[in-house]
Point group: C2
Chain length 219, copies 2
Amino acid sequence: MQSSPGAAYTATPRTTPARKRDRARYDRATVHAILDSEWICHLGFVVDGAPVVLPTMYARVGERLYLHGSTGSRPMRAAADGLRVCVTVTRAEGIVLARSAVNHSVNYRSVAAHGTARLVTDPGERALAMDALLDAAVPGRSGDCRPPDAKELAQTAIVRLDLDEVAAKVRDGGVIDEPGDVGLPHWAGVIPMTRSLGTPVPAADQDPAAPLPPYLTAP
Amino acid sequence: MQSSPGAAYTATPRTTPARKRDRARYDRATVHAILDSEWICHLGFVVDGAPVVLPTMYARVGERLYLHGSTGSRPMRAAADGLRVCVTVTRAEGIVLARSAVNHSVNYRSVAAHGTARLVTDPGERALAMDALLDAAVPGRSGDCRPPDAKELAQTAIVRLDLDEVAAKVRDGGVIDEPGDVGLPHWAGVIPMTRSLGTPVPAADQDPAAPLPPYLTAP
């Protein structure tokens, strides 16, 4: 399914929530923004009829997600023939404390992308994906490290999932209490959750006096 | 499979990594510590042969994981007959920057629990699970909110997954570079990743002068 750059993804039964449909988002800007704000996903696939969910790294390039792994790993071996996957990316942004137990909630932004992941074999696309995977976690890093040699390339599998059957879910804003609960003496509000990067710790064999590269010192 | 409290979980083909087996951990202390340090998991299940991965809340009580949802949600409806699941919990703790592209890594602690999730119907166990789910995110909160009424209870499904086929994976420590790469002029080290809670934001209808409950002000 090809879509124009600005068009929304088409909702399918799989990307239509059974409930709380108002949380679903299909516009590309929202989906891309969530995908670009993270770089760790949870990759789901099926082995012998049972689900397996693994945390792994990913990068978005246009309408494609790239994931990588050892050529010996289970999903990468299975992807040679096309592997049905669900790639889910989640940002938890707040704990919502309501007066009633059942109205407690979480503010979050998530994306789930469904489809068939396939091994990437084109050398140029593989190189692009490897750079994107490094730069997703540390923008700029792909230009400041030793590129893979032939043996390392042979040990690295890259798979691609085209963004096609994909949707975001967003819960944001404040507490939603039952009107009759508002007077109850329980504190209500939102506790923001943030993730941050700490001060880089040099490797034992790294000259501690060497300046940090600019991509690690930018605010 | 019943085990004594101190015994390790038994490794199975499913919980034995295809590679980097030294990262696998089967001792209960490690598995429990990771599970208790988080409260958002990624729940994998299979729909029409394809994987689905959803972020959701969980709580550990002894050798059980509890998850909840609306009685109308897909996994909760499916769990009435027993739903094959994989529950994965991930803490990302650092970005490992090596001199070579392929030796970049992530420090993380994760747990994957496999098995069949079943609906909990016993009222006492349901109440215990609901309290545990609130307290996993905000310890102490279950004692300071309005408990569910009969209608709310009827709308809430609780499922249980016994911890049986479960393992942790841990990557920690520093950079592992090829000996020949150590002299390269690329900064190497670890960038710590931390998640923190911000200052609670009172609801619009919350008296802003009311003191925060002690469980929100403890360090």
